[in-house]
Amino acid sequence: MLEITDLHKRYDDVVALDGCTFEVQPGRMLGFLGPNGAGKTTAMRSIFGLVQPDRGEIRWKGEPVTHEMRMRFGYIPEQRGLYPKMKAHDQLTYMGRLHGMEKKAAAAAADTWLELLGLADRRDTPTEALSHGNQQRVQLAAALVHDPDLMVLDEPLSGLDPLGVDTMAEVLQAQADAGKAVMFSSHQLDLVEDLCDDVAIINRGRIVAAGNVNQLKNAASIRHLELEIEGPVESVLASLEGVRSADVVDGRHVLIVEAATDVRKLLAEAERGGIVHHFVYTTPSLTDLFREAVA
């Protein structure tokens, strides 16, 4: 388990991390969410010693993270992280060796990963000559070639087409299933909701929500309500109690209401206003949770 406890980091007058605390469990995938500039990259970099926090601790399996432990971590930095002119296989072999693998083992692992990601025929192609999706596949392989125990990926899904996302998701899921701890940052909340067991939401350097996705949803103080009524909608909406926010999406009213609100009372109010065509009351989506958390 990776434990990040009370990280603080300040650059001149900018506070990047302000008591950031969360955990990444082995065998699970954690989505690391937050608005731009919230401190995601700084937190991920501190795991690899690329940022020295002013205060706080990072532990792996109960021990403070050392250089040796980092050799068993895998990392995809924000954007690329590859040599543009290096051939795919050479690149992966080099990454394996950087993490302490012998030459032969690294070369073999590189071939295995190229095969697995459908890049066997691109073995000797320079990275810059690959399509964007294939570059990202090589990047993924580069973080996996040494079979790490912990994977940290900074925005691995950005710019991927749906097929690329599927490949990425499959590979990461397989890693988690094999008992590895996986964390990645993303802005694609619906994808994270599908993929991740856990999330941690960071805002202004602090974790504002963290834990199992379903538990977070159940425990949330808000609920998601979709409503379509034939009749005087405005007066119905005005009469509803406990509405935090209201929005119209494709002609349907999407409301965020207090979890404490009685759903039967809501339905009764709606029916009094007109003919109800659509009434969905659910736990909030991850997007709802995110908006609520960083508001």
């Binding site: 690329l50 590859l82 950087l98």
Partner: protein, 400 residues
């Protein structure tokens, strides 16, 4: 992975990737061709023997024949000499017309006058001097013809020039050669510092731009990366320099431009040693400069102060080339940024004592050791900060 393995890993990647890159191969071939061409070209264009056709009106055919005989006599056995042939004309007009047409090089009128064309390089040339000389020789020969001393006079006229010797016993040929080695070495050193420095610069910036450096820094120490790069690029640079030197020597031998006696070994060895020191000194700083910027376009700007220092050191050393015992040369020996230029020059053409050389080496090595630490820290601090151009001091302070 220990430090040795880590540095070797980085260095061998640098060697393999850069060594087989098109840029490296093409730049090596181009410089070899340029150097070879510069050496061989003058010989190919102007060096070969020519045949001069000289118009003769009235007397003068004998002068041309004498010039031809002298030229053949002076040439070594295995060399071809210039040839002089006479073409007889009825009158001056027709001869001058032929001269205008370029059929002949010059006209001798009645053995009294030598006429060259309005254009052309005949006046003042070797050919003109040979004909003038031949005219004098011919007159003396005519004067003594029939007398007892005739044979002796001819022999004296054809005798070898005086042997030349300089006091102090140094061989002029070796002096020239040492001067050439010093001059060529100086230029090579300057080219090496600038071009291999810029390899360091762009290599470091490239890794930062692509964020590869974050992966590197998560497994290696900054000085492993910097050290490995220095060694890899240093070996490639030294290799390219050796190829150049060998190509230059081959060019000299094959074209026969001038002869190479035994090379002054000490100055060649010192040049290679100082090449390594000069490369390290500057390349470390270029590497640190590369870590300060996030975009390739800004790299040259970040390195501008260094490039100026390298240029000033280079200019310094021309003073040393002119006057290897002068104050500038002596001071330049003890300034680490000019020592790699000046010290080999003083060794090649001047008088530098063993202790002076030892002090110069010690100062430069000490500077390198200090720089490895300072620049290494700037490098570590600069690499992980993005944005515009980071200041040296800022990068130095932000490293931990």
């Amino acid at each position: 992975m220990n430090a040795f393995q880590a540095i070797r890993l980085v260095a061998s990647r640098e060697l393999k990737e850069r060594g087989r890159s098109r840029a490296y191969i093409i730049s090596t071939i181009l410089t070899v061709l340029l150097l070879g061409g510069a050496i061989a070209l003058p010989t190919l264009i102007g060096g070969g023997p020519s045949t001069y056709t000289i118009g003769v009106v009235g007397e003068g055919a004998d002068i041309v024949a004498t010039a031809d005989a002298i030229a053949r006599q002076e040439a070594d056995d295995d060399e071809e000499s210039n040839r002089y042939e006479a073409m007889v004309f009825e009158d001056t007009e027709s001869a001058e017309a032929a001269l205008d047409e370029g059929e002949i090089e010059a006209v001798i009128v009645d053995g009294e006058e030598l006429v060259a064309g309005s254009a052309g390089a005949f006046g003042g040339s070797t050919a003109e001097r040979s004909l003038q000389e031949a005219a004098g020789t011919h007159r003396v020969q005519e004067l003594v013809t029939g007398s007892e001393e005739a044979a002796e006079v001819v022999q004296i006229l054809a005798s070898e020039p005086l042997e030349f010797r300089r006091l102090g016993g140094t061989d002029e040929e070796e002096d020239n050669l040492r001067g050439m080695v010093a001059f060529a070495g100086l230029i090579l050193m300057y080219i090496a510092i600038l071009s291999y420095g810029s390899w360091m610069l762009s290599g470091v910036t490239e890794e930062k731009t692509n964020r590869v450096v974050e992966v590197l820094m998560s497994t290696l120490r900054p000085w492993h990366i910097l050290g490995g790069k220095l060694i890899g690029i240093g070996i490639l640079g030294l290799g390219q320099m050796l190829v150049l030197i060998i190509a230059g020597l081959l060019g000299i031998i094959l074209s026969g431009a001038f002869e190479i006696p035994a090379l002054p070994f000490d100055s060649v060895a010192a040049l290679i040693g100082w090449f390594i020191l000069g490369f390290l000194l500057y390349a470390i700083l270029y590497g640190a400069a590369g870590s300060l910027v996030s975009r390739m376009e800004d790299a040259q700007n970040a390195a501008a102060p260094l490039t100026i220092v390298a240029l000033v050191g280079y200019l310094f050393s021309f003073a040393a080339l002119n006057d290897p015992e002068g104050a500038v040369a002596v001071i330049g020996t003890y300034i680490p940024f000019s020592a790699p230029y000046v010290a080999p020059i003083r060794l090649a053409i001047g008088d530098i004592s063993a202790w002076e050389m030892a002090v110069a080496v010690a100062i430069t090595v000490a500077t390198i050791v200090v720089l490895v630490r300072l620049a290494g820290r700037v490098y570590a601090g600069g690499l992980l900060r993005y944005g515009g151009r980071i200041k040296w001091g800022e990068a130095f302070r932000s490293a931990e």
